[in-house]
Amino acid sequence: MTLGKIKMSVATAIATVLLVSGASAQDTKGTKASAELKADYDGSVVGKRIAYLPIMYGSPLALEWGRVLQREAEHRGIIYELRDPNSNVDAQLQALKALIDSQPDVIVVQNPSVTLLMRDLKRAEEQGIHVIQVNMASNYRSDAFVGVDWREIGRMIGEDVVKECGAGSGKSGKVAVVQGEITAAGSIDQMAGINAAFAEDPSIEIVSNQAGNWLADTAKNLTDVVIQQHPDLCAHIGFWGLMQSGAAQAIRNAGKIDDVIVYASGAGSVLDCDQINQGNFDKYLSYTGTVQGHALFNAALSLLQGDDEPGEIKRAYYTRPVWLDASNADAKNCFPLDEN
């Protein structure tokens, strides 16, 4: 079942309930079919426990997933638990082990790397806990993965860069990249996607490819040098909005903000949208944090309602990256942070 179908069926069910209740106001029970459907649903989800273990509850993406999960889960009578290791991977590993010992029904986990939690995720499923990995899958494939396809993100940006700066554009074709972390799987895949796209057009030249380690200041310092060395830079790609804002600032400081096309990608929070609207980012590929949050919850629902034992099935729920620019970076496409 795809995400769309789930959504559709949920919507239909709600509509039906509304319609029926509207038709006969006196009848408190409603139709038999819908009551049975809801009873089955409640039977398999009410009182279940979802534990959510991000890397750091404070990054916009993790906040949005948590917000959606919590709101949806609590509405449905599902117990929601949050563990915040605050970027301390040792604490995250410990929290995961303790969570497994406490036997929740579903664990939603954000991997810090492809290997660290791998064994424990496997152990969790062996002990009857469904595991949903979000954002980055580890080397162990669990019941479900929710997130973007990093190669796709890289490829989409790469193709757009080729379109803007490639042969026939009349531009220099010079591109600078600030990766997140060179060893992070997300960065590696994204870079692979970019490289694949660039391979199509030999006029594109990567003049600088450095790791900013997710810090805006590092990205700024790197870009300071790059923009000085290559004043005719055509595009600048950064792997994360919050980090890329530093690079954009460097470009702005050098007076090149109107000449260089600044690409960024990220959660799609208002923080990034502000950057778009301020003219710092020209093109922004959003992972749509809110949609991912709903996808997470729906993945959890389908696991809870299904008969499959943990570890039996391997599903993936890729969300569609959405291009944002000054024309559509508004409240509709950007989630706010203060609704927690």
Binding site: R83, V89, A91, A95, T115, L116
Partner: protein, 716 residues
């Protein structure tokens, strides 16, 4: 005499004079293991809190789970602690851990080595990085803080580069191996194998650090490089090996992590150096070096580990965790600083704990009274010899050739011989502070040496150790296995050496405090030359001083200075093992006891009691304030400006006394010996020896013959 009532009273007296909360506290504060009391309390409080607040915390399953998770960090804290004890710091512990974890995975998954090969290879890798640190710090003498900080940068980058290269292999390769699985999740006696290894390493580390030459040298280097170098320690090599050991410990940690998580990324061991540093200091390992144990490292490590673990499991938001760790760290460090700064002061303040001294009635010493204690001037007629040639001879003794032995404060035994004892020679140099003396049957001079123990000097003047330790009393906090202040001795017919160790709480220089304290801190100890064993016979005597085996060899007479009393302790016969009071109601504090030629005994009184002194004995609070608030020379002590020797018999009757009422010739006499009709006198603070002729004494009687018989006359 032996009715129950008296025994009960005695028991309570003993209890009240041995037990006191203040005493307990002061002795606790002196203990080395009590130093990390604050972090330990913190750890216990933390565990209790977590048990109460975190669901399922106090379960076996959780404990096992924690025991699986902790050791890796534990090894790293240990490595950090060790480098700090050596006076340096190893900030690269986290990076070496990450590096070794990676090397283990590469050896296993990429190079596909056998498991023993992987372990040895990883250990070698850890030792290698450690040796770079060690070489730089030890031989090139770079600064450890800076050097290891730079090593972190390099090692971490190498890890990242290798990670990039091998990430795919790690993801796809898998090794099926029971041995590797055992390292990952095996158990020994129900304890996870990594925790077991940590325990073993801790025990070895503890022994190495506290009992081995290596550990002492390491601590010496850490405490003072200069002193260590002057003591002949190869400082460079010590530092070099410390960093290698640190690297090895991190490698162990890396192996276990690799086996369990099979993961290597840029986060592995990130920030562990500061966590380990925090842990080590929290546990009480000093930055200054030279001070620390493996257990302190573990206490600190556990606090940090459990704090992080507990807070994240409570579902506490990350920023509160951060603040809590910060605040707890602040408070803990502040308390620890205050504690370590003030605990020694507190223990000094609390150390002297006077108690009530049950002194018996004080007899009159007025001249002219019909009383054996009546003051006279019989010592004024003494012939003085060795003037300014001895210094503080506590005891005096004569050998079969009639030569006189005295001692000096700097540890020499001085022998006087010839006409009028004009010939002076240094018979032997023992060191320490020689006190009581006695000849054994082979004419070896056995000497009690304060601060050292019991020593012997052969006829040729060669010193040897007899004994310097006894069995430790299991229920005493104070380690009393060492002989603190062996005071006087005597030898029983069977050759056993009975000697007094007058205090277990003070030293030669502070022994007056023990008298002021008035607690049973002293003991009677026996050394058996046949077995070579030393054993404490009585461990609750009030400043036992003079020791003398009775003429019949059945009992030992013990003089208690602070109680002004003489005990008889039966060593043979039907009442063997019994202790009874022989002599009470004495006018002064007793010192040495020696045999007299007529079957009686000589007893020296070092100080003479006064009404004020006796009153003070009933006022422990007064004496405590006195010691604390006024200078030593203002303290109320018995009168030392008189010399007195009394004679008593086996029935406990005092027969006569010899006085130097103004202390002109022999103030505060501490010992006397009869020899061929003369009584030889000595004093602990005197610069002379002397003798008086005893009216009507056997002019042929010598101490040696009385004990061991005259070989010319045949056995006595």
């Amino acid at each position: 005499m032996h009715d129950t009532n008296v025994d009960t009273t005695k028991f309570f007296f003993r209890l009240s004079s041995s037990v006191s909360p203040r005493l307990l506290l002061s002795e606790l504060l002196m203990k080395k293991w009590f130093e990390p009391a604050v972090p330990f309390t913190l750890l216990v409080a933390l565990i209790l809190t977590l048990c109460l607040t975190v669901p399922n915390f106090a379960t076996v399953r959780n404990v096992v789970s924690l025991a699986t998770l902790y050791p890796e960090f534990g090894f790293v804290v240990l490595a950090m602690g060790l480098s700090m004890i050596s006076g340096g710091i190893d900030l690269s512990v986290g990076a070496i851990f990450a590096f070794c974890n990676l090397i283990a995975l590469i050896l296993l998954l990429v190079l596909e080595w056998s498991i023993p090969g992987v372990i040895m290879g990883t250990l070698a890798a850890g030792a290698f990085v450690g040796s770079i640190n060690g070489f730089l710090v030890g031989y090139l003498k770079t600064r450890p803080f800076l050097t290891t900080l730079v090593t972190v940068i390099i090692v971490r980058s190498v890890v990242n580069l290798l990670n990039q290269e091998h990430a795919l292999t790690f993801a796809t390769n898998y090794v099926e191996s029971d041995a590797w699985d055992f390292i990952a999740s095996g158990q020994v006696l129900g304890i996870p194998v990594n925790a077991m290894t940590l325990i073993v390493v801790l025990i070895i580390g503890h022994i190495l650090l506290s009992r081995s030459r290596f550990g002492w040298r390491l601590t010496a280097v850490g405490a003072s490089r200069k002193a260590a170098r002057h003591a002949g320690v190869n400082v460079n090599a010590m530092l070099f090996s410390t960093y290698i050991i640190s690297g090895l410990l991190c490698a162990m940690s890396g192996i276990f992590f690799a086996a369990r998580q099979a993961s290597s990324d840029s986060f592995t061991g990130l920030g562990w150096e500061f966590q380990a540093l925090t842990a080590a200091v929290l546990g009480g390992i000093s930055f200054a070096g030279g001070n620390g144990t493996v257990w302190r490292a573990m206490i600190g490590g556990l606090v940090i580990f459990l704090l992080n673990n507990g807070l994240v499991r409570m579902g506490v938001p990350g920023y509160i965790t951060s603040s809590s760790v910060g605040i707890i760290l602040l408070v803990a460090v502040a308390i620890d600083v205050k504690w370590s700064k003030n605990s020694s002061k507190a223990s000094e303040l609390l150390y002297v704990n006077p108690t009530r001294i049950p002194l018996a009635r004080r007899p009159s010493i007025d001249a002219g009274d019909d009383n054996p204690f009546a003051r006279n001037d019989r010592l004024l007629s003494s012939e003085i010899f060795g003037l300014n040639q001895v210094e503080g001879p506590e005891d005096v003794i004569l050998d079969r050739q009639g030569r006189v032995y005295g001692s000096t404060r700097d540890g020499n035994i001085i022998r006087f011989s010839g006409e009028n004892f004009k010939r002076r020679e240094v018979f032997a140099h023992i060191g320490g502070r020689p006190l009581g003396m006695q000849f054994d049957p082979d004419e070896n001079l056995i000497v009690c040496v304060a601060g050292m123990g019991v020593y012997g000097v052969t006829r040729e003047g060669e010193a040897y150790k007899v004994t310097d330790e006894t069995n430790r009393t299991w229920y005493k906090l104070n380690d009393d296995s060492r002989l603190r202040m062996a005071d006087d001795l005597d030898i029983a017919p069977d050759g056993k050496i009975y000697f007094s160790d007058c205090t277990t709480r003070y030293e030669m220089t502070t022994n007056a405090l023990d008298v002021i304290e008035g607690r049973p801190n002293g003991r009677l100890i026996v050394y058996d030359p046949k077995t070579g064993k030393t054993h404490t016979e009585i461990n609750h005597l009030h400043f036992p001083n003079g020791i003398c085996v009775s003429h019949d060899g059945q009992s030992v007479l013990i003089a208690s200075t602070s109680l002004s009393r003489v005990y008889r302790y039966w060593i043979e016969g039907p009442r063997k093992g019994g202790l009874e009071t022989l002599l009470d109601e004495l006018p002064g504090c007793c010192d040495n006891i020696n045999r007299a030629s007529d079957g009686t005994y000589w007893l020296a009184l070092i100080g003479i009691r006064s009404p004020a002194f006796d009153l003070a004995g009933h006022m422990p609070g007064f004496r405590r304030r006195m010691v604390r608030e006024i200078p030593v020379d203002e303290w109320l002590v018995p009168s030392l400006n008189q010399g007195c020797v009394v004679k008593f018999n086996d029935a406990g009757e005092v027969l006569e006394s010899y006085w130097d009422p103004e202390g002109v010739n022999h103030p505060s006499v501490t010992s006397m010996r009869e020899h061929k009709g003369y009584l030889y006198l000595a004093g602990l603070e005197n610069n002379r020896l002397g003798r008086i002729k005893i009216e009507g004494a056997d002019t042929e009687w010598t101490g040696f013959d009385a004990y061991w018989g005259d070989p010319q006359k045949g056995s006595a």
